[in-house]
Subunit: 125 residues, 2 copies
Amino acid sequence: EHPLVMDVMVQDVITVKEDYNVQQVAKTMVDGQITHVPVVSNEGKLVGMLTAWDIAKMVAQGREALAGEIMTRKVLTADLDEPVELAARKIEKYNISALPIVNSENRVIGIITGDMISRLIGRGR
Amino acid sequence: EHPLVMDVMVQDVITVKEDYNVQQVAKTMVDGQITHVPVVSNEGKLVGMLTAWDIAKMVAQGREALAGEIMTRKVLTADLDEPVELAARKIEKYNISALPIVNSENRVIGIITGDMISRLIGRGR
Ligand SMILES: C[S@@+](CC[C@H](N)C(=O)[O-])C[C@H]1O[C@@H](n2cnc3c(N)ncnc32)[C@H](O)[C@@H]1O
Ligand SMILES: C[S@@+](CC[C@H](N)C(=O)[O-])C[C@H]1O[C@@H](n2cnc3c(N)ncnc32)[C@H](O)[C@@H]1O
C-alpha cells in the first residue's frame, strides 16, 4: 500500500547535453511531449535540470543561451526505494514538478513527476 | 475520503488574453512561477489553454505568434463537484497537466493541476 519511487517512475529518460542551444532543448521537449529534461555531461552524469518554464523564462527575457548556462545546477533528486509520499512532499515543498533518480555513479536511471504521482489517485491508490 | 475538485483546486487563476504575444505569455508564467494559463476573452470567458510546452513549441519552430493563434482551443475542464480521482484520470488519459474549472457563464473560477493532486499523496491522502 506504500508505493516506492521505483514503482511509479519511468526509466526511459529523455535528457539533453550542456551544449544544446535553447531551440534544441525546446525541440527535445516537443518531440517527447515532455516538459522536464535532466541535463547530462558527455559521460551521462547528471549536471542540471531544465524545464519548459526555463524556456519560457528565456522567451520572457528575449535571451538566447546554451543549456549549460540556464539550467538549474542544484538538482533535487529522488531515491529508488523512497516512498512516493516523500517524493510528493518534496515536489510540493520546492514548487517543482519532477525529480530525476540517479545511480551511485550519478547517472540518470529514472524520472518521477507530479503528474505520474497524481495517477495513483486516478487509479484509487 | 473522496476529495472533490473544489477541495484541491486554486481559485486565484492567472490568465492571459488572446492578444498577448508569446513574450507576454512567457512573462506571465515566469512572474507567477506557473506553467499553465487559461486564455480568456475580454469578457473573461474561457477560449483556450496555453502551457510552457506551447512556448517551447514556438521556440522549437523559431516562430512568433499571438496567444489566440497558438492556444489549444478544445479545452478539457473539470467540474467543482467532480471527484479528484476522475480529474486525475483525465489528466493521465490526455497527457495534460492542468484542468480549468468554469462556471455556468464559462468564466474561469479555478484550476487543478497534476502537481496539486500529487500533494494528496504527500499528505497521506
Ligand atoms: C520553481 S519551478 C516552477 C515551475 C514548475 N513547477 C516547474 O517545475 O517547471 C521552475 C524551476 O524549477 C527548476 N526545477 C525543476 N525541477 C527541478 C529539480 N528536480 N531540482 C532542481 N530544480 C528543479 C527548473 O529548472 C526551473 O528553473
Ligand atoms: C499534450 S500536453 C504535453 C505536455 C504537458 N503535459 C503539458 O500539459 O503541458 C501539451 C499540450 O496540451 C495542451 N493542454 C494542456 N492542458 C490542457 C487542457 N486542460 N485542455 C486542453 N489542452 C490542454 C497544451 O495547450 C499543449 O498544447
